[in-house]
């Protein structure tokens, strides 16, 4: 029951967070130094007062600010997101987001997966062999890997894969196992239900996911290493050893399982790094995701779309935080018990 109350409290707290974040976005965009209506118009249209008036009316900027704020918030709340102005002119924003979001989610899904399945085992490996040469190599690699800028790593990876046939003695990434039409670009999300389509979409997004997950991979490796080191020094490990538990059971059952506990919340809490990083990675790899959409809307001056997308991002991050809380209560029995 206490757990349910804890979760309820977290859910309740996320409401003002969404409200505050969205209000700040509204203030920056509509009360900032840039006139969103003027940004939408071309030079020629700007000299035409009628066109400017029309744009202002469409955006609702001819109303008093408070009324506009209420309207805007209500539209977002009811997911009545309107139409775009400059980018994919006149298309429905809801449809646009539904079209772009799956690619970003696909990218994020694989980057989390790669980070977990490479970073955690490497960290455990380094922790089990602490202060040996292989530990140092793995730890050093993780630290440097984490410090590399994603966009640069992406460029270098694309160069390597593009020239893979000449670098790796004839091994060509593009035609290896599943032939691709190009090494970068958007994955084809329409054929995910077929085996072939699933593999092709996965292979296409894999280099980008590797780059996007690089920072988390380094972190997870480091935390995994520390966790194993800590668990190894616990009394119950000594006890199990004294009881004559075999080495294999000791490692798999007693050390690794317990070391996993602190890692789970970390994995979700890094999701916001992934969402922020998606802009650069999608730009470098040419993936038509929601991050690239945000960036294009920002540089082309479609500020209303920028605000709407920011709202979507806020919802995503708050949602991930809630999922993390749920996982937390499932994994750690102590949560919600400290009289909170």
């Amino acid at each position: 029951m206490t757990k349910l109350r804890y979760l309820g409290k977290r859910l309740l707290l996320s409401v003002p967070v969404v409200w505050l974040g969205t209000s700040m976005t509204w203030f920056i965009i509509f009360m900032g130094p840039v006139d969103p209506a003027a940004r939408l118009l071309s030079q020629g249209q700007l000299r035409n007062p009628a066109a400017y008036q029309a744009a202002q009316t469409q955006l609702g900027l001819n109303q008093p600010p408070f009324q506009h704020y209420l309207d805007w918030m209500w539209n977002l709340f009811t997911f009545d997101l309107g139409q775009t102005w400059l980018l994919y002119q006149g298309s429905n924003v809801n449809a646009l987001i539904l079209d772009f979001l799956p690619r970003t989610l696909w990218l994020g899904f694989w980057s989390v997966l790669i980070a977990v399945f490479v970073g955690v085992p490497l960290g455990f490996y380094a922790g089990m062999r602490s202060n040996t040469a292989s530990d140092y190599v793995a730890s050093m690699g993780g630290i440097v890997w984490r410090a590399m800028p994603n966009f640069w790593l992406g460029i270098m990876l694309l160069a390597l894969l593009g020239g893979s046939a000449s670098i790796f003695w004839g091994w060509d990434w593009q035609s290896w196992l599943i032939p691709l039409d190009a090494i970068s670009g958007s994955p084809d999300m329409s054929r995910l239900h077929t085996v072939e389509g699933f593999l092709a979409a996965t292979k296409k997004v894999l280099p980008a996911a590797l780059v996007l997950g690089s920072a988390s991979m380094g972190n997870e490796m480091r935390i995994g290493r520390t966790a194993v080191l800590e668990v190894r020094n616990e009394d119950y490990i000594d006890l199990a050893e004294a009881k004559g538990v075999s080495d294999r059971a000791l490692v798999w059952k007693h050390i690794l399982r317990n070391a996993l506990v602190p890692l789970v919340p970390i994995i979700t809490s890094e999701a916001f790094l992934l969402i922020g990083g998606s802009v650069l990675v999608e730009t470098v790899f040419g993936i038509n995701g929601i991050g690239l959409l945000f960036y294009q809307a920002a540089i082309q001056g479609d500020l209303p779309l920028v605000g709407t997308l920011m709202y979507v991002f806020i919802l995503m991050i708050v949602g991930i935080n809630l999922v993390q809380d749920v996982l937390y209560t499932v994994i750690d029995p102590r949560v919600g018990m400290e009289g909170a």
Binding site: N150, G163, P262, I299, I317
Partner: protein, 503 residues
Amino acid sequence: MTGAHEPIDDGSTDDGSTADARIDADERRDATPGAASTILPTESPALVWVGLGAGLFALEAGALANFLVSILGDGLAAASLPGTDFVAGVQSATAQVPTLLSRETIPNGGYWNGSRWVGTFMGLRPGAAWALRAGLIYCYAFAVAGWAILGYRLYRREYRVANWTPRDDVIDRFRGHGWGLFGLLVVWMFVVMAVFAPALGPTTVDKNMRNSYSNEMSYWDTETDSVETILVGDANLASQSRGDTDDRVLPMQYDDFGRFHPFGTLNTGRDLFTFIAVGSRISLVIGLLSVGLSAGIAASLALIGAYYKGRVDLGMVLVSDAIMAMPQLLLLIMLTTVLAETWVGGLYSGGFLLALIFAFTGWTYMWRSLRGPALQVAERQWIDAARSFGQRPRTIMRKHMLPYITGYLLIYGSMTLGGAIIAIAGLSFLGLGVAPPTPEWGRAINLGQDYVTTGSWHISLIPGVLITLVVTGFNALGDGIRDAIDPRSDTANESAAGRGGGA
């Protein structure tokens, strides 16, 4: 009371014991006349130390004066106040003061006249002259660092009243921390590059980039076998690194005009090393400014929240959660596009605005890390004692709580600085943030993006490797400080700070 091992803060409250301690220190010096010279073999080591410092300073006094005056001039010009002309006059006067480590003293720009190099330092090849100057600059920088360390050890052994303070242990632990020392070395070399950027590059931004068509240079024309003159801009056009062409200039090569390029040329034919050296200055200034500001915000909010608790703390949690719910990189993109055309956006090529945005979006991450330690300190008995003494809240926060979180500030500051450098580079890679003519590392990566697989691979590769190195250095320094302050702690789960919002 836990206060028994408190460091003596200024000694003014307790005159008697301080005087005794001073006598102790004097006795230590007198009792061992030979030992007084453990560091410097003289009777008055402080005098020698000051003399050394003055000597080091004199070598670079002109450059320092010029730098300070130019900052003043920039400030006046930005605020459009009168007196800009006067300051420009002073600036040209300070430029005349001879300094050892300037391109005027050790010039590397010259030309081959058929039999020997003209205009370079002692007739050396331009590359050798440049290497000499760069080497001297780094020697000078390490001499200054050594001088500072010497001063600290002198003070600690000979002049400080107390025999031991808790901070000594922290510094001794750091001295034995190889990884942290590596970080310090990298950070120091980066800082030196930023500080000496104008003297370090083989050419200047003004001559090679901004006004390349107002500057002439001489070169040896192999076709006519004579010395010709050409505009720098035209020479740049003929040394562009675009793929596999013959014109490309790779690292450590000369172009056709006898100019040496330590890192090769950009795709525009400009010198990459000069670009990177000046870019490091911008990165460092923005990074320091933003981290300083966000550390200030984070520390004051953490202290206020920990002191008053309850609703104040809850409100801060809500605000910071709301800011963190907007991914930092996206917030940066949104704010830079919205604010780019305001007057703040024009200051320092947009760098000042970037630093401000960084500070106001990034304090939350640091605040999160400081909140725990601040709450812990607020529970201690001496806070209650100070409160019952009638001390004002502000004094309590500053004198009794702040000293306990400054260590954490240093750790997260160092890690955030690395993240800020990545994020600034990421923004300028996207074409946002620092405005185009001003060099920035991320833009060099963007410029070379199309040539990575070709013969001009160096344009993207070198800045990326340097960013990785510098960020690793800042993270290592943070690790070292953390281990020195509290060897048992581990901040791995807070390390999101070091990633600049995922750039």
